[in-house]
């Protein structure tokens, strides 16, 4: 979470208008769902990885970290698609070749889709996405909620980390049972603090004239048409080649 956020704020493409990133990534995400995955999936995965690492300058390691969790999930889940089970007479299961293809296709498709999201989260600060959704007409209440949660996550993460360090310093984690005890204490403490934090933040915001609306100025980013067109052209080319390759294959 912290690492993702760090790169979102510091990559080379940070100051691009969010549309320039969201539109191509969004289109590619849709393409992963509609095109035959075995031909288009690797293309999309590769180009998103390329854009993230060589374009925006996010280290490969960070990208792999983001992809690792969904990938592990897929690797564990996919084999079940490759097995066919029948209850016709008793319980039978067998590997099916159709199932193998399905498992492979699903994995590739999901990885390609996740790479689009990874690109977006690693290159675009949440504030940009929030500003964009506001302009697209997402209700203000929802946006304010996301905004507050985003801020508070870090306030609490910081406290959780320092709390755990303090417990560790007092040997709170020397044994497994003490560890459980310590985690329980920490969680209870954090919850209490969350309630207090909310109360005090209300005071702090009221002092600045809060009357029920969290309105702030958004940094204006200039939309670059050349960059946007480049992105869209690239999406078009990928879509076309994915489609042609897919037809040739079948």
């Amino acid at each position: 979470m912290r690492a993702i956020d760090h790169y979102a704020w510091s990559n080379r493409w940070r100051d691009w208008h969010p549309t320039e990133k969201l539109l191509p990534a969004g289109c590619l995400l849709i393409l992963t769902l509609v095109l035959p995955p075995l031909s288009s999936g690797p293309l999309i995965l590769a180009s998103m990885a390329w854009a993230t690492v060589y374009g925006a300058g996010v280290p490969m390691r960070a990208l792999l970290q983001v992809l690792a969790a969904p990938a592990a999930f897929l690797v564990m889940g996919a084999p079940f698609l490759a097995v066919s089970i029948s209850f016709a007479d008793g319980f039978h299961w067998q590997w099916s070749s159709e199932g193998w293809w399905l498992a492979l296709e699903t994995t590739v498709r999901a990885l390609a889709a996740v790479s689009c999201l990874a690109f977006l989260t690693l290159t675009t600060p949440l504030t940009d996405l929030i500003a964009l959704s506001r302009r697209l007409g997402v209700p203000a209440g929802l946006i304010e909620l996301v905004q507050l949660v985003y801020r508070l996550i870090f306030v609490f993460a910081e406290r959780a980390i320092t709390g755990q360090q303090a417990q560790t310093a007092r040997l709170g984690y020397v044994r497994f049972d003490r560890g459980l005890h310590s985690v329980g204490g920490l969680a209870g403490n954090l919850f209490q603090r969350a309630l207090h934090q909310a109360q005090r933040m209300e005071i702090g915001l009221a002092a600045r004239g809060y009357t029920g609306e969290l309105r702030v100025l958004n940094t204006e980013r200039a939309l670059s048409w050349p960059r946007l067109m480049t992105g869209i052209t690239w999406v078009g080319l990928l879509g076309l080649s994915g489609w042609i390759l897919g037809r040739g294959g079948s």
Partner: protein
């Protein structure tokens, strides 16, 4: 418009759990003054401060604004808080937006200013605290001292007549303290009345 900007008369405050935090307090804050209130931990500084913009309502006694009893209805509080800016002890209690610029713009927009005017106020406040370089930084990546200055800028951008700060120098290094006191000095010379609370003696203004 003579007489104190804000005054407290025989102020008493009892927390809901019956703890008597303030008793028989009289204080007059004259226009254009610079006032430091010192007290040890738990002496009631924060409790007193929260009375100065109507956040807490005294159990007994009165808070007077320009000689008039403070009004605790919604509109009265709104007016009150336009004039009296409060900077809390803990910057994380005040900063809610993702970037510095966004956060500082919150107060000015609440005043009903236009976006252009708000942008100007943000710039002005960041300048006064010498943190223009932080403008587009993410709030959660700032150090404690930086957060503290951003929190002050957020209140400053509303150009309050009276600026009240709860332990503004706590947690700052000596360089940070010098900077901050310099900035406050500048505000005071520009006509802002200042009240600040501190737990340590010898903080000179």
């Amino acid at each position: 418009m003579s007489g104190p900007l804000l005054s407290l008369q025989r102020l008493e405050y009892r927390y809901p759990d019956q703890l008597l935090a303030l008793r028989g307090l009289d204080l007059a804050i004259e226009r254009g003054r610079k006032l430091a209130l010192l007290g040890s931990n738990g002496s009631g500084k924060t409790t007193l401060l929260l009375h100065l913009n109507g956040t807490l309502r005294p159990t007994n006694g009165m808070v007077l604004l320009d000689g008039q009893p403070g009004r605790y209805d919604r509109q009265g509080l709104n007016q009150w808080r336009r004039r009296v800016g409060l900077v809390l002890q803990e910057p994380d209690d005040q900063l809610f937006a993702a970037t510095v610029e966004q956060d500082v713009s919150f107060g000015p927009l609440n005043l009903g200013l236009s976006e252009a005017e708000a942008r100007f106020r943000v710039h002005e406040a960041l300048e006064a605290l010498r943190i223009t370089s932080l403008a587009s930084r993410a709030t959660h990546t700032l150090s404690f001292g930086q957060k503290k200055r951003v929190a002050i800028a957020g209140v400053l951008a509303m150009r309050p007549e009276l600026l009240v700060l709860d332990e503004p120098t706590a947690g700052l290094d000596s360089h940070g303290v010098t900077h901050l006191l310099g900035a406050l000095q500048g505000l005071h010379q520009a006509g802002t009345t200042l009240v600040f609370f501190d737990a340590r003696y010898g903080i000179g203004l």
